[in-house]
């Protein structure tokens, strides 16, 4: 059967392509890792190199013992990601499902209302005033949780599209005939079939929360104990950049560096920032399992 030969060739081709792409991804990451354990002075003198002249774990020592409390930031990041993803996923899925029902009166209007937010938004200052004055969430955990990240039009429309094409009407009809309410139909029929999209959007929302530093940047001016790990890293890096680029207006810019950690520490923080994802992602991948079509409705 020439099918098997062909299949094999495809597999080999696929592996070759993936190996190339993975190498491209992994090389710079390897560089990141290695430079985080390279001695700082060597980094400054010789630049980044795959084979360090001198190894030093100072960066990691600094991170885990310094006053910045990287460990604490980790906890915040993790808590924020879990809570945010659960909440965000819930309202996004419900919304997406609701918009997918063709009989819903005003469905197009609602969809447009959702979509419109993708293209226009009030801007930074009005958003800030809204959350800070009206809702008073500045310098609280809610400031990390609520603005922008919980639900966005992109995710909702993805969900909607999946529900429309991936959940056959026939199955839902079968459930209605059995006397199920809309809620029931959603939970027992639509949701299990939507596992791949739920996992996907959950991943997107989760990554969004994990990566975000913007919310912390503008809303956390007093509560340093609420800094997430990306927030911490980005602040540090931005401060250094600022120093480098603005010494004309500020005298003694160099003095500021005495209190900011060095190059190797920045690298180490970046490594530390991606570590949990490396650990967690394989588990989520298990959910990318084909939805099994329940017996009874085929063709």
């Amino acid at each position: 059967m020439h099918n098997i030969g062909q299949e094999k060739r495809f597999q080999i081709f696929g592996h070759i392509v993936m190996v190339i792409i993975t190498l491209c991804a992994i090389l710079p990451l390897l560089l990141l890792l290695i430079s985080s354990i390279t001695d700082n002075d060597v980094l400054i003198r010789n630049g980044y190199s795959f084979i360090p002249e001198k190894i030093s774990f100072y960066a990691y020592e600094y991170i885990f013992t310094s006053g910045n409390s990287v460990v604490h930031a980790y906890m915040i990041s993790i808590m924020l990601t879990i809570i945010g993803t659960l909440l965000g996923l819930t309202i996004t899925t419900l919304m997406g499902y609701a918009l997918s029902k063709p009989f819903l009166p005003g469905r197009n209007v609602l969809t447009f209302i959702v979509f419109f937010t993708m293209l226009f938004n009030g801007g930074l200052v009005p958003t800030y005033i809204n959350y800070s004055n009206v809702f008073n969430i500045k310098n609280t955990f809610f400031a990390l949780l609520v603005p922008s990240l919980m639900m966005n039009a992109f995710n909702v429309l993805m969900m909607k599209s999946y529900f429309v094409t991936g959940v056959p009407d026939a199955l839902l009809e079968a459930a209605y005939i059995d006397g199920a309410t809309e809620f029931r139909a959603f939970f027992s029929v639509a949701l299990p079939l939507a596992k791949p999209i739920v996992a996907t959007i959950g991943l997107f929302i989760g990554i969004g929360y994990w990566n975000d530093w913007m919310n912390g940047y503008i809303y956390l001016t007093k509560r340093t104990d609420l800094y997430s790990i990306q927030n911490l890293l980005n602040r540090m890096i931005q401060n250094i950049q600022f120093l480098m680029q603005n010494s004309s207006t500020i005298s003694n810019a160099n003095q500021g560096l005495a209190s900011i950690p060095s190059v190797s520490v920045r690298m180490a923080m970046a490594v530390v920032g991606v570590l949990p994802i490396i650990i967690v992602y394989p588990f989520i991948q298990n959910n990318f399992v084909k939805g099994i079509t329940l017996g009874g409705v085929k063709g």
């Binding site: 980044y48 293209l119 809309e182 791949p196 931005q238």
Partner: protein
């Protein structure tokens, strides 16, 4: 898939039952709508800031109108053409390149059998999690004139003279497209992958029995079924065509002046000017400009798509 068409005229009984069905659905949509209202619609009137002569005492809504004064800086310069061209061209290239590779990787990943595919998938996602500044350091590690990996290792091996990468603008469109692809491929392929996973395996089995080759299966089954997703994502990207990834165009080229003709986009142009001016109305104006253009383009694009392939249209 046939859409149910509901006639406008319904009997009272039908209308009642429709309402009964719809109420739970509205309830489901409620949390989302509340969130959208709080997060997006409440601040939206603030868009007028772009048209105002802002004074702190009067606040956003009390300040006097300024007409289009705050928009002038986006158009009145010779650079307006360069920055607009850069922004649009890069985005178009990104759409094509990223979609092609994301779909390809998704298809491959879905077809691979070996367990190692999980490893591939995890690794290629990681670049997405790195912040722009870290990426700029990594790029610098490769492209540095003195110590860079490319100059010292690769070019030396071929006996080519070292190149001052950050001062030669001709390489940068390729570099930026590559970096953008590198960063996004792991993330972008996920949505296609999950769509493919949802395709009924039965189709492939039937095709295989009929003697279809792998490529035929992909092109006749997988791709057409991916089309709605591809179109939707492209439409959304079109809506953001006047925006650019600030980190990519400002940090990665290390703000090197020699590269401006190919790295200056609307966002970086605005940032450079407003860094000193600190004018919140001007940056609001830039935002309105970008949104408006994107909005118009998406409407046009969506209408076109609706004519050709109604199921794939966004709305």
């Amino acid at each position: 898939m046939a859409k149910a068409h509901y006639k406008k005229k319904m009997s009272p009984a039908q209308r009642k039952s429709l309402m009964k069905r719809s109420i739970p659905i509205y309830i489901m949509a409620l949390p989302g709508l509340i969130y959208l209202f709080i997060n997006n619609y409440m601040p939206m009137p603030g868009i007028v800031l772009a048209f105002k002569n802002y004074k702190a005492k009067d606040g956003i809504y009390g300040s006097k109108w300024a007409g289009f004064k705050n928009f002038r800086y986006l158009f009145s310069t010779q650079d307006a053409f360069v920055i607009t061209r850069n922004t649009i061209c890069y985005n178009l290239v990104f759409i094509v390149v990223n979609t092609f590779f994301a779909v390809m990787v998704a298809i491959i990943l879905s077809e691979l059998v070996a367990k190692i595919k999980k490893f591939y998938q995890s690794v290629i996602l990681l670049p997405y999690l790195l912040s722009a500044v870290i990426i700029s350091y990594l790029v610098f590690a490769f492209l540095s004139a003195e110590n860079g990996f490319v100059n010292n290792t690769i070019l030396k091996a071929f006996g080519v003279n070292p190149i001052s990468w950050y001062q030669e603008k001709k390489y940068w469109p390729f570099i930026l497209v590559f970096v953008n692809l590198w960063k996004g491929i792991g993330y972008n392929c996920i949505i296609y992958l999950s769509t493919i996973i949802g395709i009924d395996r039965g189709y492939y089995e039937a095709a295989s029995i009929d003697g279809a080759t792998k490529w035929q299966q992909i092109s006749k089954i997988t791709l057409p079924l991916l089309r709605p997703t591809i179109i939707m994502l492209t439409l959304m990207a079109v809506g953001r065509i006047f925006y650019s990834d600030f980190g990519l165009f400002y940090q990665v080229p290390q703000n090197s002046g020699a590269l401006f003709p190919v790295t200056n986009t609307i966002d970086t142009y605005v940032y450079r000017g407003l860094l000193e001016l600190g004018d919140i109305t001007m940056s609001a104006a830039a935002g309105v400009y970008q949104s408006l253009v994107g909005f118009v383009l998406v409407l046009v694009a969506n209408l076109t798509v609706r004519k050709l392939d109604p199921d794939s249209a966004l709305f």
